[in-house]
């Protein structure tokens, strides 16, 4: 057999043909950032149109395409692949494995994503335009009344579903089979735990989404009646199936973010994570509950009262394990020796803003109150507090935290802190006013609005431009670090960081842990 200590291949073939988890992780991260910029551009178009009441820049039909593609690209193209990239880079290094369990399939999981999204984006240029039915693609808007490009949208969903299923099977196999001797389940870093549970959620619900879009395909092209009441089906059935996927999906997005924060906060508090075991159980509890709460997205659709009550109480239950997590993060910082480097700032930003998003979620869970909030900007504000200030802030925190380990170079700390504060302020200026216009009755997904919402919308748009622009600074900082950042050779990088990845040389060599390390018997978590 060949020499396995070789470095990466040269040129493009390195990236096309790679089986290396670090290469694949890097490709996922860059791809997701490109999608973040693309989805962000769509958001800027939306906010520019909403800067003032009346129709200024775009046609209403195009506006609908923008809201649809913004949601789809951000959820499936930016956030999910970014955490898969993180999983690729970190899970083998954190559990002492030489690579992912199935490296060639790992490469395939990545490479079907870019052409899949190319197909989705190309619908913008097709006759009838891109999908314009919102990222939730409710029937019959997405079947009877959809543009022909919906067919390619359906196949794009299939393709990225295949990618997610293969990626999560790989993560499950890696964690179950590749842990170094002594790395018992309850010694795994919390990031590994949260991804482990996320992967089970993905394997369980992505096939259901595939079933949903397949039924759409049949209704559109083969005359079936799944979502048509005239033939004995039910459009509401689509919503049930979609949200049976969709609610676990939001935890698929946020659980790895919980994992990141659970690594970063202890490092900069110089204390072990408070309540490790309860964190694991809380994550599992959130995942299990996520399967029995889906219809809280559909309170106003006309469900029986018993259904409303069941889904309301089940949803409220989720606040308990989530509260446990927030309590544990705060307790980790309690009497810690805190320092506020950029990763810590983003994690604390996550903690504060995610908690606000959690509370508005609790408000939305109350079925009778939801009749006022439903489909207003209050909902938009709520889920951007958990998606952007939750998932994206945590992802940003992760990049700053592990970038020195990946590249062997330190980012510019001052610029990182400036990035945080601009992001933090820009984000809140964008989304906090949306709570108010939502409560006052401004509907979402509409290109024009009543005059009384003008001031708050203008504020929102300005905040969005600021937040969007701050991402350029992030991109610059990352590239400058890779090209000419100050070299770091300390294995530990951060003096409070714990875990196997910090025992490796900096930058992490191309191949790591080809021979599994022996995990000492001392408990890794306090």
């Amino acid at each position: 057999m060949g020499d396995h200590h070789h470095g990466p291949a040269k040129g493009l073939s390195r990236w096309l043909f790679t089986t290396n988890h670090k290469d694949i992780g890097t490709m996922y991260l860059w791809f997701s950032f490109a999608m973040f910029i693309l989805g962000g551009t769509f958001a800027m178009i939306i906010r520019a149109e909403l800067f003032q009441p009346g129709m200024q820049l775009v046609e209403p039909g195009f506006f609908n395409q923008m809201t649809t593609l913004h949601g789809l690209v951000m959820v499936f193209g930016a956030i999910m692949p970014s955490f898969v990239g993180l999983a690729n880079w970190l899970i083998p290094m954190m559990i002492g494995a030489p690579d992912m369990a199935l490296p060639r399939m790992n490469n395939w999981s990545f490479w079907i994503l870019p052409p899949g999204f190319l197909m989705l984006a190309s619908t913008l240029f097709m006759e009838g335009g891109a999908p314009a039915f919102g990222w939730t693609f409710y029937a019959p808007l997405s079947t009877t009344y959809a543009a022909p490009s919906v067919t390619f949208f359906i196949f794009a969903i299939h393709v990225l579903g295949i990618s997610s299923i293969m990626g999560s099977i790989n993560i499950i196999a890696t964690i179950m089979n590749m842990r170094a001797p002594g790395m018992t389940y309850m010694k795994m870093p919390l990031f590994v735990w949260t991804w482990f549970i996320t992967a089970f959620l993905l394997v369980a619900v992505m096939p259901v989404l595939a079933g949903a879009v397949t039924m759409m395909l049949m209704d559109i092209h083969f005359g079936t009646s799944f979502f048509s009441a005239a033939g004995g089906g039910d459009p509401v059935l689509f919503q049930h199936i979609f949200w049976f996927f969709g609610h676990p999906e939001v935890y698929i997005i946020i659980l790895p973010a919980f994992g990141v924060v659970s690594q970063v906060i202890p490092a900069f508090s110089r204390k072990p994570l408070f309540g490790y075991a309860s964190m694991v159980y809380a994550t599992a509890a959130i995942a299990i509950l996520s399967f029995v709460v889906w219809a809280h997205h559909m309170y106003t659709v006309g469900m029986p009262v018993a259904g409303e009550l069941f889904f309301m109480y089940a949803t409220m239950l989720i606040a308990v394990p989530t509260g446990v997590k927030v309590f544990n993060w705060v307790s980790t910082m309690w009497r810690g020796s805190l320092s506020f480097e950029t990763p810590m700032l983003f994690s604390i930003g996550f903690l504060v803003l995610f908690t606000i998003g959690g509370f508005t979620g609790l408000m939305l869970s109350i079925a009778p109150a939801d009749f006022q909030y439903h489909d207003t900007y209050f909902v938009v504000a709520h889920f951007h507090y958990v998606m952007v200030a939750g998932a994206v802030f945590s992802m940003t925190s992760a990049v700053y935290f592990w970038l020195p380990k990946w590249t062997g170079r330190m980012y510019n700390e001052t610029m990182g802190k400036v990035h945080f504060w601009i992001s933090f302020v820009g984000f809140n200026v964008t989304f906090f006013p949306q709570h108010f216009v939502g409560l006052a009755g401004m509907p979402r997904r509409v290109p024009d609005y009543a005059l009384q919402f003008a001031d708050f919308n203008m504020m929102s748009s300005i905040g969005a431009f600021v937040y969007g622009a701050s991402q350029i600074m992030f991109l610059y900082n990352v590239i400058a670090t890779i090209v000419s950042g100050e070299k770091v050779s300390d294995e530990q990088v951060w003096d409070g960081a714990e875990g196997l990845e910090w025992t490796l040389p900096t930058p992490a060599p191309y191949h790591t842990f080809e021979v599994p390390p022996k995990i000492e018997a001392t408990p890794a978590h306090g």
Binding site: D3, H4, H5, F17, T19, N20, A97, D99, A101, L102, P103, R104, M105, N107, W108, F110, W111, P115, M119, E127, P148, T151, F155, H158, V159, I162, I169, A173, T174, N177, M178, P181, V203, P207, V208, A210, G211, T214, M215, L217, M218, I220, G223, T224, S225, F226, S228, A229, A230, G231, G232, G233, D234, V236, H240, I241, F244, V305, E514, P516
Partner: protein, 326 residues
């Protein structure tokens, strides 16, 4: 590899494959396939609005390329295993991969079974006026009464598809027929029963083949695996006959409202999975007969295929129960 490096006991060196073009080739095949299928379907439904008359060639090229790549991929993994590159730990990764793949397939079918239950227990009765929204029945679908199998669609109850253009064109006209047992005039003419017997037997025959392989009885293994594949082919053949009957004699089609939708979706995807499982087992048979692959202790290709076969068998049991009998 440095000679001094030794993995701890029970942790042999894990074989991380060298860089490989398989993934990129499979990507090209998959994307061409779905892009061609999309073009073809849009031509079919919306007419040729763009220059894509060659959609079927894109689809065909994609499929051929994809299948060839998969074959090459499996051949690579088989060769690696036969060259002894797979440690016990690596083989366990394949076991986990197959197990969770089958689990994802279970969830795929769950979406369609969930649809069936929802329509039968909730949506159907609501359309006929049950529950809180009952008054709407008189406004939207006066005269519609729900039964399973349905004898009429809501659209037909209010008179043809011209009235409401969004409706599907209910062509389900044979009111006393369905695919369930009640309408089979003689029990021996009822194909689903024969298919149940065939598929359940095939699970036993594949198990006998496995037992023979564990005892290193090559010819017995080949014989019973061959019988399993033959039963699979008969099943698919009978399913095709049933579809012909449904379309030509009963007038039950994909356009026949929700009964036809759920019937063809569930049995169709199941039939496709039987075809896939049958193909997988056939390849294992060819490997055994021609290449003398597999030993009593090393036969994961066969084992994974047989798990898949048991999985389609279990799905059929649920299908038989909920689509045909109840």
């Amino acid at each position: 590899m440095a000679a001094t490096e030794h993995a701890p006991a029970g942790y042999e060196k894990y074989h991380v494959p060298d860089s490989s073009s398989l993934a990129v080739r499979a990507t090209v095949g998959l994307i061409l396939t779905v892009f061609g299928a999309g073009l073809l379907l849009n031509d079919m439904t919306f007419g040729e609005t763009h220059e894509s008359g060659n959609a079927k060639w894109v689809l065909a090229a994609g499929l051929v390329f994809f299948i060839l790549t998969l074959a090459s991929w499996f051949r690579t993994t088989i060769r690696e295993n036969m060259q002894g590159m797979n440690s016990a730990q690596l083989n366990h990764s394949y076991v986990l991969g197959m197990f969770w793949f089958i689990f994802s397939e279970v969830m795929f079918f769950l979406a369609f079974f969930g649809t069936l239950f929802y329509v039968r227990q909730l949506a159907g009765p609501w359309l006929a006026g049950e529950g809180d929204g009952g008054r709407m029945n008189g406004l939207l679908w006066p005269g519609f009464e729900f039964s399973w199998p349905p004898t009429i669609t809501p659209q037909e109850a209010v008179g043809g598809s011209d009235v409401q253009p969004i409706a599907n064109n209910g062509a389900f006209l044979t009111q006393d027929r369905s695919m369930s047992f009640a309408d089979a005039h003689h029990w021996y003419q009822w194909l689903p029963m024969w298919n149940t017997i065939i598929l359940l037997s095939s699970s036993f025959t594949v198990h006998i083949a496995h037992t023979a392989l564990l005892k290193d009885q090559r010819s017995k293994f080949n014989l019973w695996l061959g019988i399993t594949v033959a039963l699979g082919i008969i099943f698919v053949g009978l399913q095709a006959a049933e579809y012909y009957e449904a379309y030509a004699l009963f007038g039950l089609t994909l356009n026949s409202g929700i009964y036809g939708s759920t019937f063809f979706m569930l049995t169709g995807f199941h039939g496709f999975h039987v075809f896939m499982g049958m193909t997988m087992l056939l390849i294992q048979l060819i490997r055994s007969v021609r290449g003398h692959h597999f030993t009593a202790s090393d036969h994961f290709g066969f084992e994974a295929s047989s798990w898949y076969w048991h999985f389609v068998d279990v799905v059929w049991v649920f299908l038989f129960l909920f689509v045909y009998i109840l």
